[in-house]
Amino acid sequence: MADILTFNDLKKHFVIGQEGFLRREPITVKAVDGISFAVQEGETFGLVGESGSGKSTVAYTTIGMYRPTTGTIRFRDKDLFADKKRPLALRKQIQIVFQDPGSSLNPRRTVAQILALPLRLHRPQENVLQQTAQLLDMVELTLEYMHKYPQTLSGGEKQMVAIARALATEPSFVILDEPTSALDVSIQGKIINLIMRLQREFNLTYLFITHDLSLMRNVASRVAIMYLGKICEIADAVEFFRTPYHPYTQMLLASIPVLSEEEEALKPRKTVSRGEIPSPVNIPSGCSFHLRCPRHMDICSVVDPVMVEVEAGHSVRCHLFPPS
């Protein structure tokens, strides 16, 4: 299948201050530090990581909130950052659903007004009211919601409106930045089903960002794990859950809470998880994971490993898998 979005050695560093008295050295946070991967047309690509791993920075750079420090993001062979201001035609194609539906809807604007903005900007020749009604119908909300203000909606309803707004421009690529993590468990399933149905109906490609691995097992076609701004492992979802190679992936999979013995048997052998994710200001030398790694070797604290394709479509960045 064709690639729709290609990340090529993307880096995003933030200067957050300066240190030193006479020679001022900038303090930088390497939020995203050289990631390369491609999302294919029509798939759901899961980007998983702990908080602070840089997964949201990837999302915000893709939508154009930030410009990359170095590296490129291409959308169907168009460089997203070729122009200083992103053209409307590209904005139309790439949309986002944010994590917190409370903050993503303007409390002073009605649902109809919220949906009208992208409609007016990207589909100016169409009847706004008619389209608004269709969008609401699309996300399974009744027309009564048109003139409601966000504070009168439940968390799930707010997220449905946010999804409708993202789809208002008729995009082909939608970033889902933890779309369910702020919601009640009872409503999460409903939102996920809605998201997956819309993907089938409109042939959407998703970049699904989450810290919830068990959710990825159900929705993603491919999964990548991020740790401190870098990708550790990337594989087809089935492969990923069956034979995880990276010690960090194994640790994450082992830490998923399960209810039954059968589920326990599916998990990789018990790995002890230890430590917290270090601050991205002070990234450890060598492999950034070596301080927490149960299988670390002498080389790990000195040399940063490179990405190696162990099997077709399954790549790992770990010294246990040296390049041949």
């Binding site: 939508i63 154009g64 909130m65 992103r86 409307l88 904005r91 790439i94 949309q95 986002i96 944010f98 917190d100 903050s103 993503s104 809807l105 303007n106 409390p107 002073r108 604007r109 009605t110 919220i114 903005l117 992208p118 900007l121 990207h122 009211l129 008619q130 009604a133 269709q134 119908d137 699309m138 399974e140 009744t142 027309l143 009564e144 048109m146 003139h147 409601k148 946010a162 707004r165 421009t169």
Partner: protein, 309 residues
């Protein structure tokens, strides 16, 4: 017979007329809720009543005032310094003018001062605050906010005194002087709110869609800062009127024989305490109008939920 929108899912079909009906209903409910919050505090109702009274008196002054001719140049030494009576409920001043009539006309100057100053001050102050807040951290922010800081550092009354005394002392120069020192408060208020709001996801989302800066400033951010602005306007009406009366009191505002409330207090001060009514009733008129606007402002704050002020 409106256009009918077909529903693909299980919802019943609904006409656009019904949608409009629902919109009206929502609006009515919101108004009802706002009134409930406002009227819960009886003091804000008292404030609203006081403001309404002052407004009506000012508008219909020539009809309400018992001696409207006493506002123009007029002397009647035979009836000078009369204490309050049925004929002159507030008494008469040192040249025989009816103080009640002059106080009623005095409301006009006080309200005029407040309205003119605030309409000069609020739009530019709010606009600068919105722009600086939205471009937070850039050079635009630095320039606007440092200029604001400079203006805030000048003692307001002294600046107004200086300007009013350099130029001709009259009401319009007093209003100009007060306006010049008042806008930074609005810039500061709006800047604080806008710089937080600009990072909210709804603003980011509008940016992602490609909305213009004007749309983001006036349609996304402004509606979220409008409540604190209205509350501040109501509270500031009182303050501006006090400052205006103070300038009139020291002779830099409304010029005699025009009936400025501050001017009347100043001329009556000489006759304290024996002919107390000459100064005290105009002073009470100032209290009425300022207290009214302050109570109303508190009520608006409760109603609009603007805790920032």
């Amino acid at each position: 017979m409106g256009e009918v929108i077909p529903a693909r899912h299980s919802h019943p079909t609904i006409s656009l007329e019904q949608v409009k009906l629902m919109e009206r209903q929502t609006r009515r409910e919101n108004l009802g809720r706002a009134w409930y919050k406002f009227s819960r505090n009886s003091l804000s109702l008292v404030g609203a009543a006081m403001v309404l009274l002052v407004l009506l008196l000012a508008i219909f002054a020539p009809l309400v005032a018992p001696y409207p001719e006493h506002v123009k140049p007029f002397t009647d030494f035979a009836n000078a310094k009369l204490p309050p009576s049925w004929a002159h409920p507030f008494g008469t001043d040192e040249i025989g003018r009816d103080i009640l009539s002059r106080s009623i006309f005095g409301f006009r100057y006080a309200l005029w001062m407040g309205v003119v100053v605030l309409s000069l001050v609020v739009p530019p102050g709010v606009l600068l605050g919105l722009v600086a807040g939205y471009f937070q951290g850039t050079r635009i922010d630095t320039i606007i906010m440092r200029i604001t800081d400079i203006f805030l550092a000048v003692p307001p009354l002294i600046l107004a005194l200086a300007i009013a005394s350099i130029l001709k002392p009259n009401l319009s120069n007093a209003m100009m002087a007060v306006s010049l020192m008042w806008w930074p408060w609005y810039t500061r208020l709006v800047y604080g709110l806008a710089s937080t709001l600009r990072n909210e996801y709804f603003v980011v989302s509008a940016e992602v869609s490609g909305a213009s800066t004007a749309h983001i400033l006036f349609r996304e951010i402004l509606p979220n800062v409008i409540s604190p602005i209205f509350t501040k306007i109501s509270l500031d009406m009182g303050w501006v009127i006090i400052i205006g009366s103070t300038l009139s009191f020291v002779g830099l505002g409304v010029q005699p024989p025009e009936p400025g409330l501050g001017t009347m207090v100043a001329s009556g001060a000489k006759y304290l305490p024996d002919q107390w009514w000459i100064a005290v009733f105009p002073a009470l008129a100032i209290v009425l109008i300022v207290l009214g606007f302050n109570l109303l402002g508190d009520g608006l704050r409760d109603m609009l939920g603007a805790e920032e002020i």
